[in-house]
Amino acid sequence: MVNQSKKVLNTNIANLVNQNYQYGFSTEIEKDIIQKGLSEKTIQLISRKKKETKFLLNFRLRAFKKWKNMAEPNWAYLKFPEINYQSIIYYSAPKQQKQSKDITEVDPELLETFEKLGISLNEQKRLSNVAIDAVFDSVSIATTFQEELKDYGVIFTSISKAIVDYSEMIEKYLGSVVPIGDNYFSALNSAVFTDGSFCYIPKNTVCPLDLSTYFRINDPNSGQFERTLIIADKNSRVNYLEGCTAPQYDTNQLHAAVVELVSLKNSTIKYSTVQNWYSGNKFGKGGIYNFVTKRGICINLNAKISWTQVETGSSITWKYPSCILMGDKTQGEFYSVALTNNYQQADTGTKMIHIGKKTRSRIISKGISAGKSKNSYRGLVNILTKALGSRNYSQCDSLLIGNVSNANTFPYISVQNSTSKIEHEASTSKIGEEQIFYFLQRGICVEKAIELMISGFCREIFTELPLEFAAEADKLLTLK
């Protein structure tokens, strides 16, 4: 007796997306690490280590107080064991590591780590058109092109350094877009955040380089609590890219970030993420818990914020990059591809809050679920009373691979005036056995078939990514 074909398509499709995680290595390095657990003492210790001002310590303590009285949100379509916040290490930094002015002062071990991740910080080999801030566990270890950017008045530095050097701006804007008590995870982040990036683009300036932060979690027991603040002053423009990876551990690590964007009159911030945290193994063990609050505000006339995200990693993703469209004629955009596989769970989407007149927003979300994963889009479009003549267009497409994956869409729409327009489109499709067979019959192998279907499905999003990222994203979604 012969089975018609050795390949049983359905299981095969699922296996295809199981490409090995190539960033799963860890770096052996001497660490300055504090004890597990979270208390006011921990916060004071972190603040002291970072030589922070009183303002910041108070900021942290207020946040901690709020956090203690809050509960983990349970409305998302996610299931995970209770997180023990007392068993997490809240500060872990490579020893002897201060923000080094000169790249030669950075521990070669760390440089090598980033080299392995494809991020060269070395002067000779670094990318010529992107400035990079490299964050390792709790601290930023190097930022390239700082001097060159300064010539244009652009500030690009770690947030720790900005807290000391640009305290005025920090005090004005930190927590202005995501208030400390906004949600459980933003409160936690506000209390214990350790590093991240700070960017300021001055008036009438187009940032000459793309700015980029690369986040690396290394320690198995520490959480990463990054904080990023980007301010685009009047008539300015910046492209910002964010990348993330982590080693392969059996335990889960917590990543709770807050990103705040402030876009002033006529300015544009384009923020792109390729999130590739370790997603756990094929039985669902290990992986990063990714609870992220990202929000931007378009304060004055014609300001624009555009989010693009490619989410392929993390065992759990809880993330809703949002735009508050406050000024008249401001614009918000959200472009997303989320790929989940095995036991990954993603609940991601956006919020577009229309406050000013003639504000416009556009949402394009593509979810791909394979294996036994759950992939949900959750979005809110809220057009307030005074946002006359506003428009929103939303499109949410889901692609299912195999028979046991799960896709959901939860769109919330609220329109409070009669002159605004909203369009919402949604579709669900499936890469089925018959489609694969069609490709095979034409002599095209399964890998190529799925690659073609996925890249076709995501095309609209990839065209939004900066060139450096588009190639990386394509690779991430390529099977094998």
Binding site: M1, V2, N3, Q4, S5, K6, K7, V8, L9, S429, E433, E434, Q435, F437, Y438, F439, L440, Q441, R442, G443, I444, C445, K448, L452, M453, S455, G456, F457, R459
Partner: protein, 250 residues
């Protein structure tokens, strides 16, 4: 020289433990066109899919030789590379993938298998543009997604286009004539006749005599209950058109 292209011996096939093909035998030589007719549910489509290597079916017994080698253990794409083509009864829609990309991928897969150089998109456009006119299709249709939003006739023409492009030696056309108006039927028949030569063979699965007015079969087989029960020439098809299938059971 052995001119036998396909030799099927004593084939027994099940799906979910239900027997669909029962001791099925067929021999096809180069230069021949075989028409297979028969009532619904007689196993015609199953036969075509089994030949192409669809994974849902289980071969209980029997052998399939193509160009002298047993293909039962080969994957669908290997069978395709060897020269077996199936024009689907219901061509599949592939959202997001352009026809041009799809056709080029298929063409290059075959080139690679034959140890020939793969062609780049520009070279491919030249190749495909020549073939398009054979099925009366506009170049515009290359930029559309594979079969998505195609009319029934366009889907079927797309199948014939792929057959011509891949230049397959054995083509099975599963009800390619169903649902076509008379003009589309003529276009497709012309395409088939133009494509056919003495080195190739075609198996036409059809319900209607009218296709056979345009494409002249060497043999007409009647299939019933999982096997071929009668073989004749085109005269048999005409007789079936008049009398139906019942009389064969008497």
């Amino acid at each position: 020289m052995n001119s036998t292209l396909l030799e099927i011996k004593n084939l027994q096939v099940t799906i979910n433990e239900i027997e669909i093909l029962k001791r099925f035998n067929l021999s096809v030589k180069k230069g021949e066109i075989h028409a297979i007719m028969g009532p619904n549910g007689s196993g015609k489509s199953t036969f075509s899919k089994v030949l192409a290597g669809h994974p849902s079916y289980r071969i209980k017994e029997g052998e399939i030789f193509f160009k002298g080698c047993n293909i039962l253990n080969l994957d669908p794409e290997e069978r395709s590379h060897l020269g077996i083509f199936l024009a689907f009864q219901y061509p599949i829609e592939i959202p997001g993938a352009s026809n041009e990309e799809f056709l080029r991928l298929a063409y290059n897969s075959k080139q690679k298998f034959c140890n020939k150089p793969e062609v780049d998109p520009l070279e491919f456009l030249e190749i495909i543009n020549q073939k398009l006119s054979l099925v009366n299709m506009s170049p515009k249709f290359l930029s559309r997604n594979v079969n998505e939003g195609f009319s029934g006739g366009e889907k079927k023409r797309n199948e014939i286009l792929q057959m011509i492009l891949l230049d397959s030696e054995l083509s099975i056309l599963d009800e390619t004539d169903s649902g076509l108006d008379i003009d589309a039927l003529k276009i497709i028949s012309t395409g088939i006749n133009h494509f056919m030569d003495t080195n190739k063979a075609i198996i036409l699965i059809t319900h209607y005599q009218r296709l056979l007015d345009y494409v002249n079969p060497t043999y007409v087989h009647v299939m019933q209950d999982g096997r071929i029960i009668k073989t004749g020439t085109s005269a048999l098809a005409k007789e079936l058109e008049d009398k139906g299938y019942e009389w064969l059971n008497d």
